[in-house]
């Protein structure tokens, strides 16, 4: 009975993702329908599809799936429905790296420097976290250190913004921080794909540990799952997939928090059952938000991170009120 429900939810989510995927290829500032079947201009339509829309569609899926997965993993690990990848400070670390790159002005000569700096930022943050937690490990320390690192990295980002002499580089930093997939190319996909896949692999390995942790740390330990070991895997996995995601897209908020929540109501609360649905759900939300930014309705480019939060926050409030009794019990 539960098995069917799980498979059914995966099937539905996958279909939704597929619809979004097709929608994302077909919707944009330019209507390519007429030229798609016109032999004279279908080259242009094809290039718009393959060079502009396909890369950002793939990136939206990769980034969304990473955010959803890390959110589900961290909520499962901390057994706290408020957790998301932001709580471990890695996304802020990645953002700090990229912002540093923009402010140094080196990004212009080699556009891949921004994601590379972002990944470096994520690596340094994760390394720092890893060393601290290797020495002093318990779950509260994990949360507190994560929050502290998160705010340290954000305040350093603010410092860079603050001391940037030139208002236009400050503007560029702010726009970057809002998150966007505009103008990304297949090279960006190739750049982040290996890190994201390896990150997913490592995170996937923690699923049994997360299930064991539902019965508390002691039981998990007695079942042969070390909490510390699980967390070390989580740090490495999140650093890889979130570091690479933030590095190419900027900060995209609320997805990691909201997606596992919504899906928990649907596929049940078992942490390992939430992982694949959360990946699909994250992909769906980021991709559909990206489609919204591209609708020919607005004159400016809406930023992706703005749209996800704008949709996510009210929805989240709705969920909290609808299920407040259930949450109070957790």
């Amino acid at each position: 009975m539960q098995k069917n429900k799980y498979q059914k939810s995966i099937f539905i989510l996958f279909s939704m993702m597929f619809v979004c995927f097709i929608g994302s290829l077909l919707i944009g500032k330019v209507n390519i329908f007429p030229s798609l079947f016109d032999s004279k201009s279908n080259e242009m339509a094809f290039i718009i599809l393959s060079e502009i829309r396909l890369p950002r569609t793939l990136l939206a899926l990769l980034v969304g799936a990473s955010l959803g997965l890390s959110g589900a993993i961290l909520q499962g690990f901390l057994r706290n429905p408020l957790a998301e990848s932001g709580i471990v400070g890695i996304s802020s670390g990645a953002a700090l790296g990229s912002v540093l790159c923009i402010s140094l002005g080196v990004s212009a000569h080699f556009s891949f420097l921004i994601p590379l700096f972002g990944m470096a930022g994520a690596t340094i943050t994760a390394g720092f976290l890893y060393i601290i937690l290797k020495k002093y490990f318990n779950v509260y320390t994990v949360i507190l250190v994560g929050i502290a690192i998160n705010s340290l990295a954000s305040s350093l980002t603010s410092v860079i913004l603050n001391i940037s002499k030139n208002p236009y580089s400050a503007l560029e930093i702010i726009f970057w921080l809002l998150g966007s997939l505009e103008g990304r190319t297949m090279d960006h996909v190739i750049l982040c794909l290996p890190f994201i896949i390896v990150g997913w692999g490592i995170l996937w390995h923690t699923r049994q540990g997360l299930d064991a942790l539902s019965l508390g740390e002691e039981t998990a330990q007695s079942l042969g799952y070390s909490v510390k070991n699980t967390y070390q895997k989580i740090i490495v996995g999140v650093a890889l997939c979130i570091g690479a995601s933030v590095a190419v897209s900027g900060i995209i908020g609320f997805v990691g928090l909201v997606v596992p929540h919504i899906l928990r109501l649907w596929v049940g609360q078992k942490p390992s059952n939430l992982l694949v649905p959360s990946m699909l759900g994250g992909g769906i939300i980021v991709l559909s938000s990206d489609i919204i930014t591209r609708l020919p309705l607005w004159d400016t480019e809406l930023k992706l991170g703005v749209v996800t939060s704008l949709i996510g926050a009210p929805f989240f409030i709705h969920l909290i009120f609808k299920y407040r009794k259930k949450y109070a019990g957790i």
Binding site: K29, R294, E301
Partner: protein
């Protein structure tokens, strides 16, 4: 009549003795166009930043100071030149202290630019011939080629912008026909396929933006980076030079 002349003279001489301070980057550009270093109390630090200040090298001959109320008062400044970025309450405070604040509004066309050039020239008693140059700027040929300018933040100028007028005066037809600045996006740009794409310089995000592989495959646009300091502020000299750069691109 004589009285009126005398009065005018008084004001003018008053200004010539005046210590004028700049309140922001664009006011810097106006002072750098018309005022001698001796007339200027100080310019803002951004005036020396080559990425945004058109007269950045000239600015090295002037005193630099962060513009805030305290420095303005302590330096015995009598006139503050600002563009409309100035905070209204700051303006009132300065005026209360007897400091004259001249606020230049956003300039949307050549006529407004000429009007303000004349005014600042009068205030500074400048002998600059830039106004003659401005007056001589004429549309040379009816536009045959299309162009798009991509400015800071990825936005492009449309009608009722000074940059749009520069593009027209240089003999191009701007493909952005909407009013004001607007974000075009890669897809609209490559489908409209302008003959020329002018972007802010190599050192900015836009340059990477127009290097998207889709451009190479689809457009035959000539992509020309132009230092963004041409268009950050409306000022006569950078306007004239910007048109010149655009015209040169045709060759």
């Amino acid at each position: 009549m004589a009285r009126f002349l005398l009065f005018n003279l008084l004001i003018i001489s008053n200004f010539s003795l005046a210590k004028i301070a700049s309140f922001d980057l664009c006011a810097d550009q106006w002072l750098l166009s018309f005022a001698e270093p001796g007339q200027v109390a100080f310019l803002t630090p951004l005036s020396q930043d080559p990425s945004v200040s058109y007269f950045h090298s000239k600015a090295k001959n002037y005193r630099i100071q962060s513009p805030n109320i305290e420095t303005l008062l302590s330096e015995n400044v009598t006139v503050v030149l600002a563009t409309n970025y100035i905070n209204k309450s700051v303006q009132h405070l300065l005026e209360k202290q007897g400091i004259k604040v001249i606020v230049i509004p956003p300039i949307k066309n050549l006529n407004q630019l000429l009007f303000w050039a004349n005014r600042i020239k009068k205030i500074t008693l400048s002998k600059s011939e830039i106004i003659l140059k401005l007056q001589s700027v004429k549309e040379d040929t009816p536009p045959t080629e299309t162009a798009l300018y991509i400015g800071i933040g990825g936005s492009s100028p449309g009608t009722e912008t000074l940059v749009d007028q520069a593009i027209n005066l240089a003999g191009f037809r701007n493909i952005n026909t909407s009013k004001g600045w607007r974000y075009m996006g890669i897809e609209s740009i490559i489908t409209q396929n302008p003959d020329y794409i002018f972007t802010t310089g190599v050192g900015t995000k836009n340059y990477a933006f127009v290097n998207h592989p889709a451009y190479d495959k689809l457009t035959k646009s000539t992509i020309m980076p132009i230092a963004q300091n041409h268009t950050v502020c409306a000022c006569p000299q950078s306007f004239v030079d910007f048109i010149k750069v655009l015209k040169n691109a045709k060759k």
